[in-house]
Symmetry: none
Subunit: 476 residues, 2 copies
């Protein structure tokens, strides 16, 4: 726990947590202000709002003594902020880089929201109040967990005890196209000893978690073209290739009867889980019934002979994320569409090679097209799986901080999701990430009525404040 050290007085964890508590009502208001700005990065019609969201964050960080800016990129602005740390010893302590994102997913389908997605509301739930809005947990709530922890440090110690840099991007939900170019360019400004990322989940509301495995992602859009124009299905039906039928058939062939992906070479580099890890996962007491029951399912559906945890944490997958073609309005239109499109993504594990898989997928599709059809491909991202060392000293420090807040040890877990930035940070900035997040499985991430429990938000702020105190005990 942070307390006095030889070079100056650091506030006690107790004092920090008391300050978090004192300011929590204002912290919640600030989160709502942040959520009110519809920073949907994928849709250009929200560009002005996305820009405004970056500026809002810059203003907040400037007020906390940071040198902050919304840096220009080839895409959405990058919020980057730096504080050298307070006091003469700060320079000897580890430099911390925080990564998060201020952009959000599109809110559609709007009609399924119980309240407007960009008008945050505090709603009573079984676990106290929750804030409901697009971005509540992914990732604005988690970013504010960091910002408000820094505010507690500002109030109690005049600023953070270590050199702190924030890199909060505005394109995480739309492919992060500026992230790598920006890191290359700003490498010196971003130098640090560890990157703390808060965009993952807890084990449950009372149990913190550190995520050590992330799946990778290859996201492809494929359009199958057939006849040069839409046709009357009566005049042509049965005699010409129908791009929707062709696309459906190709999608159906992506899995075999064991629900394994059939693309040649797909499983190259996929390792089996070490016995020790498998034993640890089994000891977690993961509740399949609760995980699936929450989304209306009685049983899982996936690769034969694998548990739900294996399926989501350690096995690669293929899912269609969107499909469209032909007439999609009300009623009937007897048309054979000229083209049909699917958005298809693959989650990767271990050493699977994203570029190789993207190429193998294109070949898979092309080899199945009947005469008269052709396919067009667009990549929406390709990144490898990540495995973080479980023996790092930063992980040990985070463990101590989380114990102080929760009164119990965090679990080391995997996640089925992907955070491409973690791989880029490792590759370009040469540092490992420490993934400590505060979401829950039922937060409706990317879905209508996304929410963040206020208890999770409070613990996110408390945890970041305490973890920073632990980092301050270390030497660089």
């Amino acid at each position: 726990m942070s307390s006095q050290n030889s070079n100056g007085v650091l506030p006690s964890t107790q004092a920090l947590l008391a300050e978090v508590e004192r300011g929590f009502s204002a912290s919640t208001q600030r989160l709502c202000d942040f959520l009110r700005i519809p920073s949907v990065s994928t849709d250009p019609k929200f560009d002005a709002e996305t820009r405004r969201c970056a500026d809002w964050l810059v203003a907040e960080l400037t007020a906390l003594g940071f040198k902050a800016e919304a840096a220009k990129t080839i895409g959405q602005p990058m919020v980057v902020a730096h504080h050298p740390g307070v006091g003469p010893d700060a320079a000897k302590r580890p430099r911390i880089l925080y990564y998060g994102h201020y952009d959000v997913q599109p809110a559609d389908p709007l009609e399924l929201w119980n309240s407007p997605p960009f008008e945050p509301v505090l709603v009573d739930g079984p676990r106290g109040k929750r804030v409901v809005a697009r971005g509540a947990v992914d990732d604005k709530g988690q970013v504010m967990g960091i910002v408000e922890a820094l505010r507690a440090w500002h109030a109690t110690a005049g600023g953070p005890p270590c050199p702190v840099t924030l890199m909060i991007e505005g394109e995480e939900e739309s492919g992060s196209k500026s992230l790598e170019p920006f890191m290359h360019e700003a490498k010196a400004r971003l130098a640090a000893d560890v990157c703390v990322v808060s965009d993952t989940g807890m084990w449950d509301i009372a149990t913190p978690a550190i995520t050590t495995r992330l799946r990778g992602l290859v996201y492809m859009e494929v359009t199958v073209h057939g006849p040069t124009r839409d046709l009357h299905s009566g005049m042509y039906g049965g005699a010409v290739p129908n791009p929707i039928n062709v696309l459906s058939k190709i999608i159906s062939e992506l899995h075999d009867g064991e629900r394994r992906v059939t693309i040649p070479g797909f499983y190259d580099g996929v390792g089996e889980l070490p016995a020790q890890t498998k034993a640890q996962w089994e000891s977690l007491g993961f509740n399949d019934g609760e995980f699936l029951g929450d989304i209306g399912l009685k049983e899982g559906f996936g690769e034969r002979g694998r548990s739900t945890l294996e399926r989501t944490w350690s096995r690669p997958t293929c899912d269609v994320n969107g499909i469209f073609g032909g007439y999609t309005g009300k009623g009937a239109k007897t048309v054979i569409a000229a083209h049909a499109t699917a958005k298809i993504s693959f989650r990767l594990v271990s050493k699977q090679d994203p570029a190789k898989i993207a190429k193998a997928f294109e070949q898979f599709v092309n080899s199945r097209l009947p005469a008269g059809c052709r396919a067009e491909f667009e990549s929406h991202g390709a990144n490898s799986a990540i495995e973080v060392s479980e023996s790092s000293r930063f992980l040990a420090a985070a463990d101590r901080g989380l114990r102080a807040v929760f009164g119990k040890a965090p679990l080391l877990i995997g996640t089925g999701g992907s955070i491409p930035a973690v791989g880029s940070i490792q590759r370009i900035l040469g540092m490992d990430s420490l993934l400590v997040g505060f979401g829950l499985d039922d937060d409706c991430v990317h879905s209508p009525n996304e929410k963040f429990e206020l208890e999770c938000y409070r613990n996110a702020i408390r945890s970041h404040a305490a973890m920073l105190g632990e980092f301050a005990q270390m030497t660089r």
Copy 2:
């Protein structure tokens, strides 16, 4: 050819055709007046115009001595008009019912039109002038072929030689919901010996055709539901059923490797083509290369071992007309959708039973759903295939009339499309239809820049005038 008969003097075909020629410029102006009224039946915002269009037609027919009205229905008005025929012998001659429709398809996408869809223009084409407007051929141009033929009879003989009734509906393009109720109610007024329908095509611009086969249609919408809400594909991917993948797999299983439909019982009632018909079709000299080349294809794609004509005229099919699910916007969203929808239609032939096939399709889908998924169905129509006897005396009379106009025999053809009214007329009014139409394959029916060649329009008027003369030679 019509000429004198024992009961009175009928005008010669020559005199009728001369009258058509004399009035053709005015006939074209009237067609343009008709086309200028945007009678888009599916869209309530055009209701006043659709009503005005019915009134316009009533006025034209009244001027030709018909007792005409725009009859009230549960939907758009039904134009119904009657003339007892001229002279004492008319009552002994066959009663002719003409069926057509005055409503049109929506004009969108507007930006693809070269001129406004409801401002008809005469444009020079490779085969002379053509009129370009929504409804030019489907079906206003063809309806005016009948009206202007009746005008020629009015000018030369004071009216039609037979009892003539017209039933011109205003909902053909939007489901014909009033047609059957109206026929039940007006059965006595609509009594006739044959129904002449002009809503089909010619073989080519110089060769008339009588359509004797129409495919039926079963149109189903199916929605596959999986998880109760949209999910993050990283957190859940690989462990839960994905409705888009499930739907794609079911669609892919609708056809086997021979491109035959796999639904149990689907081919019940499908007869093989009589050798004579097959020989006649082979003698037609259908140009596969031109038919497919026009839509950018080098070869056909369909049931193995069948020609393109068989595939479109005499074989049943299954096509997906629309599909949608998950994220369909620009870019990427890593979502597993809660549901996915497809609009799937079947073209039917011979004695296939639409109700049985709709039910078998539902069973086919339900039996393939993994645990945790369910399907919801909506029917958008079900009607049987039609085969018109090729040995009817009315067909023989039409054949004589068309020979007189074109100097060659009409071909007996099929069409892949469906005209549900023909089945309803047979069932409710108890009469066969005679399908003689004047459209060409490249008329852009239901598409932007719909057109009708003036040569086809002229021949439509001439043909209806001559055919009516032939009917007048017959006894009831």
